[in-house]
């Protein structure tokens, strides 16, 4: 006999039975090991199911509250479709086509969507983007062609597309290092510690690019992997994670500026504003002379402007005795000797 599989085909059941009869029973793990592992895994399972139940309780409570709200709203002859759960975030900016996925997976265009609730699934069109103030602190940006589920007040499930999270809302407030925000994906969980980072998901890969701070990924098939500022981590199934250097500024990051939150510059110095702008667009601030730095620290800005960060930089600086240029990864600030007498 050259190939046993040939015999299985020729003789069918008899060959299979004869083959099996020649085998020994499969070895069993030691009983003590089984008991020890079972106890440990069971404890973890109980902990996980407790967390799931807590989330469901919150969600059900929210749905019940929403039903009451819906009844109240209907009395006021308003139409609320797809009743929301616990509010987890507020949309600060958006453009293009945004869809809310209904219970029957139907897409409803939500041009006037203002708040986002736990349990909602949002899709962005090919020309769309959303800037979100996260309820527990931080700014979340959603790129075009993205599908994301808002699972709880501290987590989202990124099904596909690209998002960016900044734990510091405007750049002029303290970073919220203690806030919990987890991005779940089919490839693993992404957690951060006071940082700015971009997460992209497709069917094959999970890619995390870190601009500031540190991000940890707990993969489905891999142990924890860490990326720090200036690194990009790519996870593809069970393959070894790939960690490479990655610019913290440049074209890959430009899309987030379309939904940057308004910078709270009112009453802050020019120097503070420059730091915030630099952080938002991934650039360091360099003063070309001590005089320029001193002027930036002395100048105080008034009011807030709702335009893009680069446009605001140009506008604000045109009113100061300072000039600037962007070169490589930095904003260079100098005394403007030409514009004023």
């Amino acid at each position: 006999m050259n190939n046993l599989s040939d015999e299985l085909v020729v003789h069918g059941d008899d060959a299979i039975e004869a083959l099996l009869e020649k085998a020994a029973p499969r070895p069993l793990p030691p009983g003590n090991d089984e008991m020890a592992v079972r106890t440990a895994v069971h404890a973890e399972w109980r902990a996980v199911t407790r967390r799931v139940k807590t989330r469901r309780y919150v969600k059900h409570f929210a749905i019940a509250a929403t039903v009451l709200l819906g009844i109240a709203v209907s009395f006021n002859a308003l139409q609320v479709r797809n009743a929301p759960g616990v509010q987890v975030a507020t949309i600060s900016k958006s453009y293009g086509s945004i869809y809310l996925l209904g219970e029957q997976s139907e897409q409803q265009e939500m041009a006037d969507l203002v708040t986002i609730s736990a349990g909602q699934v949002i899709l962005t069109g090919k020309d769309a983007g959303i800037g979100i103030d996260w309820g527990n602190g931080g700014s979340l940006r959603i790129d075009k062609n993205t599908r994301i589920e808002f699972t709880s007040p501290d987590s989202v499930f990124l099904q596909s597309g690209r998002i960016y999270f900044d734990s510091q809302v405007t750049g002029l407030t303290a970073a919220i290092t203690g806030s919990e925000f987890v991005i779940e994906t089919e490839h693993g969980s992404v957690e951060h510690l006071g940082t700015q980072y971009m997460t992209a998901v497709n069917a094959r890969d999970l890619t995390i690019s870190v601009r500031e701070g540190q991000v940890e990924v707990d993969g489905v098939y891999i142990n924890r992997a860490v990326a720090v500022a200036g690194q990009q981590l790519r996870i593809s199934g069970g393959a070894r994670p790939i960690l490479v250097d990655f610019n913290v500024h440049g074209e890959a990051w430009r899309w987030i500026e379309a939904t940057s939150p308004v910078i709270n510059a009112d009453g802050h110095t020019v120097a503070e504003f420059l730091t915030a702008i630099g952080r938002e667009i991934g650039l360091e601030v360099h003063y070309e002379s001590p005089a320029a730095e001193e002027m930036a620290q002395d100048g105080v800005l008034k009011g807030n402007i709702d335009i893009g960060p680069r446009e605001e930089l140009a506008l604000r600086m045109s009113g100061e005795d300072l000039a600037y240029r962007i070169d490589g990864g930095a904003i260079y600030v100098s005394v403007d000797t030409g514009s004023r007498p």
């Binding site: 006999m1 050259n2 190939n3 046993l4 599989s5 015999e7 299985l8 085909v9 059941d13 299979i16 039975e17 083959l19 099996l20 009869e21 020649k22 085998a23 020994a24 029973p25 499969r26 070895p27 069993l28 793990p29 030691p30 090991d33 089984e34 020890a36 592992v37 079972r38 440990a40 895994v41 069971h42 973890e44 399972w45 109980r46 996980v48 199911t49 799931v52 139940k53 779940e184 994906t185 089919e186 693993g188 707990d218 489905v220 098939y221 891999i222 142990n223 199934g237 069970g238």
Partner: protein, 206 residues
């Protein structure tokens, strides 16, 4: 893409906190994973126990991400492969040093040894051991219920009546289950041996 509905249902029940689902999950997978791990860890029982505990704990934590696009046991094996790799790295050992029976092209001659007259040579003895392990690998690759009934009936020699009582089903249902299990075993075993033939052919040609 196929969807493994039974596994999907089991995972849903697990996430709902169903104790019977946990028992089912653990009993179906622990021993199979242990065997999967131990052959890849140079028969180190302590390592196998630790790795399998890590794998099952990780699987429980990540259960909500399981999409049932592969069998649950296949998903667990993928996690296990990575844990083993990490384990070996931590121990200063390397994957290349671990010889896996199902990855070994020369196993074909060992399979042939089943029909050869018995000999007492060490080589023949080794071939028979390896061929036995291949059958065990095939049994572990089947859905747990299939592997169990085949082992009870043909390896341990239990009667259909005894197996029916153990599974709390009728004799006819047991016969039907055995028939399906045999077909599935033939498919898996043929795939395994064909894969090894191709690997061996590739080695010869290169």
């Amino acid at each position: 893409m196929p969807v493994y509905l039974d596994d999907k249902r089991l995972v849903k029940q697990l996430l709902n906190g169903d104790q019977r689902a946990f028992d089912h999950f653990f009993e179906d997978n622990f021993a199979r994973l242990y065997r999967f791990a131990i052959v890849r860890l140079s028969d180190d029982p302590d390592g196998a126990r630790e790795v399998v505990q890590i794998v099952l704990t990780r699987a429980i934590q990540k259960m909500h991400t399981y999409r049932a696009e592969s069998a649950l046991f296949t998903w667990l094996c993928a996690i296990c492969r990575n844990e083993i790799s990490d384990w070996l790295s931590k121990q200063g050992r390397y994957r290349e040093h671990i010889v896996l029976v199902e990855d070994f092209p020369e196993i074909q001659s060992a399979i042939d040894s089943f029909s050869a007259p018995p000999e007492d040579s060490p080589e023949r003895h080794y071939q028979r051991i390896e061929a036995t392990r291949l059958i065990q690998v095939a049994l572990d690759s089947l859905p747990a219920k299939y592997g169990n009934v085949l082992e009870w009936k043909y390896v341990e020699g239990h009667s259909v009546k005894e197996i029916a009582a153990r599974l709390e089903i009728g004799a006819e249902a047991t016969q039907s289950l055995l028939a399906r299990a045999k077909r599935a075993f033939a498919d898996v075993y043929t795939t395994l041996t064909e894969g090894m033939n191709e690997q061996a052919d590739g080695l010869v040609q290169s």
